[in-house]
Subunit: 341 residues, 6 copies
């Protein structure tokens, strides 16, 4: 079937200067027969140079990206730009408005819907618009994520692996330029439905991030995110370094890690409340006690002990105490052994 | 995949006389393992002549169509018919029973599901049945819509554009025969998933309507709808004009309008309560103040003003005061410049 | 139990000039352990004179009152006031934010909770605050209602009957001063849990209204409401008539009606869709056919006819076509025979 | 699109002995960004022989299968096995945990999702895993169903028809070996999205069951199910008959029935409460009164009588009294006339 | 506070003959500002004699009572009556329409709301109407219950204990006259909020029942219920025995049991699926294994065994397999040792 | 009305040694007609001495209390006790099982229901049981709270003010003995419906706590809580200090703070996402910028700045980024000036 869409947009991607507007995706639920889902977009264009697409709000409960992109949309001076910056501060708008990872409209996790479907539900139509209309305009794609409501993660730049080694190095260089305290290669067990996987498939230089989480706004993560977005634009040659922009440390001597597949995850083995034994950043080893699941409603029944499945450092932990079987309680990351730029 | 369906029907489309029965679509939710979704259908057949399919209840909160088709199902005298009339008074039965635009079973807007999927959810199976089984039986298709819960629309016949000019004129002639106070060419920004778009794709002479709305039953719209359905059947040569059928005015000198794409819509720019400034039918111009969105919970904050985006007449307005960003508040229609029969 | 409350307010009722602020009612749900429900309030005080309390948003889907009171809160010039005006533009704030008659927080209809309970749920605490803290400050109370989502009502001033004849006349005089096209004595079958009943019990001069409805914002009702609120303040001697304030017609020769108890209501006798036969304002008589309930899902079953139970004029009608058994479809009002000022 | 999946499994299908573990299907909802849906699996392998896959919990409110497979997972002695038994005691784990026919996660009936979709929702991913990963490992598939919450069914073995006559006989022989009191050929009106239809499509010897129901755990059905699962394994040559295993009656002289298409079902003709007139097993004939639908809220309206549409024995009846239009109230089965082994 | 109500009724309790009508309780939710909750009532009056009140639908998923009372409302010949019969076939109308034990409107179990509250929610207003308006009209009260969705109970007449020994014997005599296969004294652990407790408090001769259950309509329970209602009316001298009325066995030699307080109940000790070991009517003893709770999602964990807490016969069992901690799985009844008439 | 309850308990408060059991509160919802809500309780009694009641799970998303009390219930050696310890590790059991502040059964915040109502909903019945049955058994009451899902709070002991100065000092001494890093006097704006207010009203020595929060399990808070509970028991003379019990620092030189009424709270002024500017423990002053509310869906609109209302230290902050108007974003505590022991 054709991927023709009924969506329209109120900015002109070829106009110079700064424009603020909206992507409108017609949406016809009970409450609004002829209305649209309205997604904010800003385009800043000046001179010649590459196009960077920066996206926030793919998950609606990861706040640092949308906050930083809103600041850029309000404050970025077009004369500092060489090329084009396309800002999508709240791409999954219904999830952002709700403060939820997933869209309250169709229940979907946008980051499991790429390349989308223009005849599908709203989230599928949105990812189709990004994939079909926005990606072809760009040279690079920066997708700003945080840990969200359920995870607390060490702030880090994320390398989405590319099958082509040159492409992979290009991605890694851009992520290292972001200059997060940590860099992690994450392939989500091979998941192809994420926006970064789709961006890689489209050939764009691709940068991901994971910043704090716990469903809150982290002061530290905000700072990393603000600086990192500017760092990547500078790396791409789009943005002159401003005086107020802190020195980029290039991250060259910072650790690069990866998640060693299934053994990297500690999953809840029962419904209950999880008590983890170690703070983030702790070095742990496979087989070590990691925490326990308490049966609070039946306190006379002893808790169940969980153990790590890999050696490494504790990279992420579940924020909510309440768990159900299968929930990810802890994530361990190990040194990345692949090639880097 | 094959489009074979497990649905079955309790009428015989080839039998003469009047039959009342049901389309059964097997449905297996928690509450009913081996039951069906039961959709009413009536077939009235006599002599030789074309087949008209008349559908109501595509949206479950648009009542005039289902009421008029129920009357026809109970009262239409088969001896007045030359050809065949297939009546589907409540095609989206779960939505009709709930008085909702969309199906409470799968959340879908039936008019965004064509051509349907016989292996999909109930609404998708229903539109597949209409598309695969009913449309091939017909020469003409009349889909009776009203404004629904969210919109109040000037009663009008709707021309679904056909790519083939002859087909387009055939459609327009049938819509003008319906003889609504107004005729509007509506392409829904190019939407292909509606039943009228699918009917056009299937080659049928196609007539749409929009009648009143606000989620209520309009006395005036009922009258237009009753007369219009008979007018179309007469136009097709299926129905002799009855004595009680009012003179058809042919609508030839009535205005034909169209919606000028995105500028024809005024969308809410914030969550709040919308106060529109003009009644339906008012002539308006682009840039004019159209209304404002009030922040009722924070009354010390001034309301936001919305403006029209096109010249024309005010064709539709939102019924519920409550709006969220992106909701369609107002619709402007402009004179149609295309060819007509 | 003591009626001591933990609520607090950020305005000082004794300060001269105009103040905007909030009533805070501590509220401790899952999402917000130590927060409050924040209700807007404005106080305009100048010179000596009586205190009028004007309330809107008792029901959250009746928009004209909140819109007009927001305008007054933003625009009312304190130097025009002699006495005090206390404005509560959105008293049932959670319902107003949701556009619902009833509170989404506790499901209660605020107008069935007076005199409230300071140890109860949020709506009960709110009505207790109005009853215990606000009413003792006032001489008169104006409660601005519209028909809401379910009813379309002829715009009218409402007299809440007072057991004391002098109080009753005082109420009636103030309602007539409001100068709505129609005045109706409504006792809600003796209901004592409304805010106007509580205001009467507290001895205040009490004015109610019903304005349009259908869940929409009515241009006509807005005008009546704007003018009426000013008329009542003038009648009380609090507000000088402004030049822009239209001539008050005093309503003396306008009809005063009442609802004749149970026979005044036509209730749905089945689940279905109601088609009413007459527009508002029609004169009707007991026993006459009033409309019918259609079984849209089973169109081969004939509809059920409903009949009026009283002579009078058609004063209100249900907006949504969809009905369930017991729903109020129509309301008939008859001439009021009691004494008037 | 490729059917590559991100799922992983913690057992090794080639290892001898008994292993207990889990299929993990990555699932990323709001509550758990990086977790999995965890589905129990046991593999018992010994010596040489065919592989049987036994599944329970396809519907989450059919308890006998999961109970019996849990017993087998805990108690089956690997040394009694010749070949391999793959046990999936709770394949639709979210539905099993909820005691619902359909998954509370995505609302889908797993038995209408085959062959599944590895890029779809959780239920679609699960059926894709069964279809793509598990079926290719097997020679035979036994899917243990009961009547569930909505139906009470005479305990029976179910033959899923195969287009190839040899395959059909192979299936029938295995079902008869299960040795239920009754054997029924059920094609679900040609439904291809069930696990047994997919198993047949994959060439496996396929056995279905229906056991009691009413949402309860039946002592009798448990016994039939326990013995039947062992009987099928013995029939396949995988399991030696144990001393405690009761004599298999082979079911050769037991009746084999089928459901005669649409006339075999009695559907509710109205919303209400269904009173059936006959107990299961009664011989009935087409046209006979089968029961009636009561209008309990309007008791002065007479109930509606339903009639049987086919001759045969009463094979199933609806458990909940409450019905909505289209619900399956009764099922009649007739003698099967096809060939049997 | 006064117990004055706004409810009204469309029958006249003093008129002779048979009247069908409704109790209307004004109800003002979002969907229906001025409507009512409509509860069916029938009054059959003739000659002189006592007044019996018969109620069904106190719980909306116990169907035999409402079915039998609907039959009586349609078929009872007034000339057979000496005195008055007030029939309330569906007192908790919203629960009856929903087929739920509790009201979907306010979530309340009507049988935990007596003596009700005329200023409370709908269920509280309904029980207040029964308590304040209906009970004072009566001499005897028969409340027809079944096991409902969650319990399967041996059909039995229920004696609600009265503190006054004469009253107690009067109740017991009437219950024995009902002539159920079993009679049980049930005090619900001293619960005073049931309708039968309120009826006893009001001095009425009081008869309760428990009939089958499992959320279904039982043919056997219907027969017992039909006959029992007539038996009680005959016992009270209101109804002549009809020719078609079967011989009353007086129940004199039938067992009278009671529930021995907390030890009579077996409660689930964990979330899971309950497998009971014995059919209803089995003789059991304290300490004996009663069944087990299975962990279907974690089948490698052994199930938990539950044991009986009292000697007696198995009187009730949970219908749904799914249990959560604290659910009543089994009920044991022991011989009643109190005095009987 | 009498406060007689139908609840029963399976431990004997007078037995020596350690008992584990349950409070059963009969509960009769749709899903379970004759079951109970089962609340764990442990009683440890030895020798002579006072009775301490320790409660956790008043709010179901505050995990440290329930975890520590479960440990005590499993591990406390009765021979170490002089007197009696009554442990209620999960008093609001339904909320604990759900990980929610409020009960999912009746929506109530248990800590706004005291002194409860034995004829009310489950939460009201539970608080009535604590108030009427448990409190009279005790000399001291320790209620273990944490910040919960919505707040992150500096771990602290809480003094509930008592009107009697001696009682107040007794409370303060016990709280200081708990030995949290911080001690705060909290009167919740005068709220009387908390369990600690009810405990004070009952004359018990009363200790509250607030520990961490954010809906997670805090390692640090767990340690403080474990030690504190033992410290209080030692302070009361019930528990010998164990060798493993760390030295009590007595907290005498630790700061004692209080919340200075409404100015201590910073409330959200709009719906949006809150970015706070300072970490917990920061010294702040009235008028200082505290943070801002971002409009993420409309990023071109500038955020709103919030300011502190009091001088002091930042004591608590909202965890979730998402706020709605009125949410508590920040809490400031100031030095307590009242008398201390």
């Amino acid at each position: 079937m054709s991927r023709k869409s009924t969506a329209f947009v109120t900015v002109d991607f070829e106009n110079p200067g700064k424009q603020s507007g909206f992507i409108h995706i017609p949406h016809s639920p009970h409450e609004d027969a002829w209305g649209t889902t309205r997604i904010p977009i800003a385009v800043v264009k000046n001179g010649d140079g590459p196009t960077a697409i920066i996206q926030g709000g793919n998950h609606g409960d990861e706040y640092e990206g949308p906050i930083v992109l809103g600041e850029m949309a309000r404050e970025l001076d077009p004369t500092r730009v060489q090329g084009r910056v396309i800002l999508l501060p709240a791409i999954n708008i219904a999830a952002v408005e709700a403060g939820r990872r997933t869209s309250p409209v169709d229940g979907l996790n946008m980051n499991r819907t790429f390349p989308g479907d223009p005849a599908g539900s709203i989230t599928q139509q949105t990812s189709a618009f990004v994939n079909d209309v926005i990606f072809p305009l760009g040279d690079a794609f920066l997708d700003l994520h945080s840990g969200g409501s359920s995870l607390d993660i060490l702030p880090s730049g994320i390398i989405e692996p590319a099958p082509d080694p040159e492409h992979h190095k290009r991605n890694a260089a851009a992520v290292l330029a972001f200059d997060a305290p940590l860099t992690v290669v994450v392939d989500n067990l091979g998941e192809r439905r994420t926006s970064t996987a789709a961006s890689v498939a489209a050939g764009l230089t691709t940068v991901g991030t994971e910043m704090g989480g716990g469903g809150t706004v982290s002061l530290e993560a905000l700072k990393i995110c603000r600086r990192g977005a500017q760092n990547v634009l500078s790396h791409l040659g789009i943005l002159e370094r401003s005086e107020t922009q802190p020195e980029r440390t290039e991250g060259r001597d910072r650790p690069v890690l990866t998640i060693p597949g299934p053994p990297g995850y500690v999953f809840a083995s029962a419904n209950g409340v999880f008590e983890g034994y170690h703070p983030l950043g702790t070095e742990v080893r496979a087989g070590q006690e990691a925490g326990r699941v308490h049966h609070l409603g039946d306190p006379f029944r002893p808790p169940e002990t969980l153990r790590y499945g890999a050696n490494g450092i504790l990279y992420g932990r579940r924020q909510p105490g309440r768990v159900v079987t299968g929930n990810c309680c802890l994530v361990v990351a190990t040194p990345y052994e692949g090639e880097l730029p």
